[in-house]
Amino acid sequence: MELIVSGNAALWQTVALSLQVSGSASLMGAVIGLSLGATLAVGTFPGQRILVWAMNTLLAMPSVVVGLLVYLMLSRAGPLGSWGILFTPAAMVIAQSLLVVPLVAAWSRRVVLTARREGGDQLASQGASHALQAVLLLVHERWSVLTLLLTAFGRAIAEVGAVMIVGGNIDGVTRVMTTSIALETSKGDLPLALALGVVLLAVVGMLNALVAWLRPSSVSSPEAAV
């Protein structure tokens, strides 16, 4: 406990990097995932059912596998090697975004489909195209979407497999909370590893509390539950 309270600068740097990497990845993944989910909800095109099946299957994708695939893409021996971003936070953001996309897409598709059953006719009657309907309904359901984004962020910040492989756990550069915990565990320093785990949970807990406070007090739907 004293290890943490002593306010180790390296620790706070690690926490900050975790938040930055997973935060950026959640945002990027959200943009892609929401677009994909909305398209799958309102679109009608050949191969749609296959895409939905693929998206649902990718929900179970292990983070290590995502990490490996991104590593192979970004490796100098791979197609995007010339970008030179392997073992940098940028690669970690990319890997975590990919992890988050199926989650956001699957859920936002559900959200839009359900909302559309209620209000799709009305919006169509007002002249909204399919795409606009999806956007308006996502705005309509923005608190559900926010809960979804928090879930995505949780998945990103808690994962270790992808970020370890593409980041390399480089001290001071790509070491985040989860890879630190893995490192300390493998060094046998279990109390420190556990303590770091508690810090990670506390940070995420504070974020969730902040979001709960920002929510408007007037509950917009009976089953509100963020």
């Binding site: 390399g168 493998s186 046998g188």
Partner: protein, 279 residues
């Protein structure tokens, strides 16, 4: 209503902060002088780099980014050009790497030794100065033995030791032999909780904090000697490597200053690594 307004401005501020920090992340790794070093978990976990690299940075102003993985993976990284220099401990694999043209030369830097670790009560009576005798007693008693099984330098050394004793592991594994496919630390964790035997490098053992009732049972046998080498990736194969900076690092390691720094690293008064670069 006012409360609602306050919340709204906070939402905007939070979003702005998120966006700003997101952009910051992409700015990392922009202009500094740095190299990527592929090395092994045992070297990193021993704490050597924490001691050595700041000294190098002070002397030459170059940041060394260490990606610590198993020796096999480290050499693989260098082969793909994802690292600028490799620092591992598997001489045979290193010489193959040079022969394939991925490095111009390998240079000896330092050695440490392996030790046989096992439970204090030593059911297989492995304790002593002879590693082959110890291993054969472990095999005949079917005592639990943890192998890293991960193509690391330590794993390669362990396999050589079994071979020297006359065991062909590909045909006939001893009854207690367990491969975890993991790093040194997790293997030690496993041995600690199972009361098992394993081969470890002294550096990781000295830094390991979860010993339980494990202790060193065999040390000092000549065949437990573990040589480390450094190889700069050949720019002819990978033009993008930061060759000049990487060469500076390799040269520094084998220079008197670098060798002295290695010798100065001690844990509990004991030296972990013994510099032996050829002049």
């Amino acid at each position: 209503m006012g409360h609602h307004r306050v919340k709204q401005t906070w939402v905007q501020r939070v979003l702005l902060a998120l966006a700003a920090s997101g952009l910051m992340v992409c700015g990392v790794a922009a202009q500094e002088r740095f190299i990527v070093l592929a090395s092994t978990t045992s070297t990193e976990q021993s704490g050597l780099f924490g001691h050595l690299l700041p000294l190098f940075k002070q002397a030459h102003g170059i940041e060394v980014r260490v990606v610590a993985v198993g020796t096999g993976q480290a050499i693989d990284m260098a082969r793909r050009g994802d690292a600028d220099v490799a620092f591992v401990h598997d001489t045979a694999a290193e010489e193959r790497f040079v022969a394939e043209g991925f490095s111009v030369a390998r240079k000896d830097v330092m050695y440490n030794d392996f030790v046989l670790i096992g439970p204090a009560d030593d059911p297989a009576k492995a304790q002593g100065r002879d590693i082959s005798a110890a291993l054969s007693r472990i095999a005949s008693q079917s005592a639990v033995f943890i192998s890293r099984g991960d193509r690391s330098g330590t794993h390669a050394a362990e396999l050589r030791l079994w071979q020297r004793m006359g065991s062909d592991l590909s045909k006939n594994k001893p009854a207690g032999y367990r491969e975890c496919g993991c790093g040194m630390g997790p293997a030690l964790n496993m041995a600690s909780s199972l009361g098992a035997y394993l081969i470890a490098d002294r550096g990781t053992w000295l830094a390991f904090k979860n010993r339980g009732n494990l202790k060193i049972l065999v040390e000092g046998d000549r065949s437990l000697f573990n040589q480390y080498g450094v190889m700069v990736v050949n720019p002819a194969k990978h033009p993008h490597v930061r060759h000049a900076l990487a060469q500076t690092f390799a040269d520094w390691l084998i220079s008197p200053a670098g060798q002295a720094a290695i010798a100065a690293y001690k844990v509990g008064g004991e030296m972990l690594f013994f510099p032996n670069a050829k002049r």
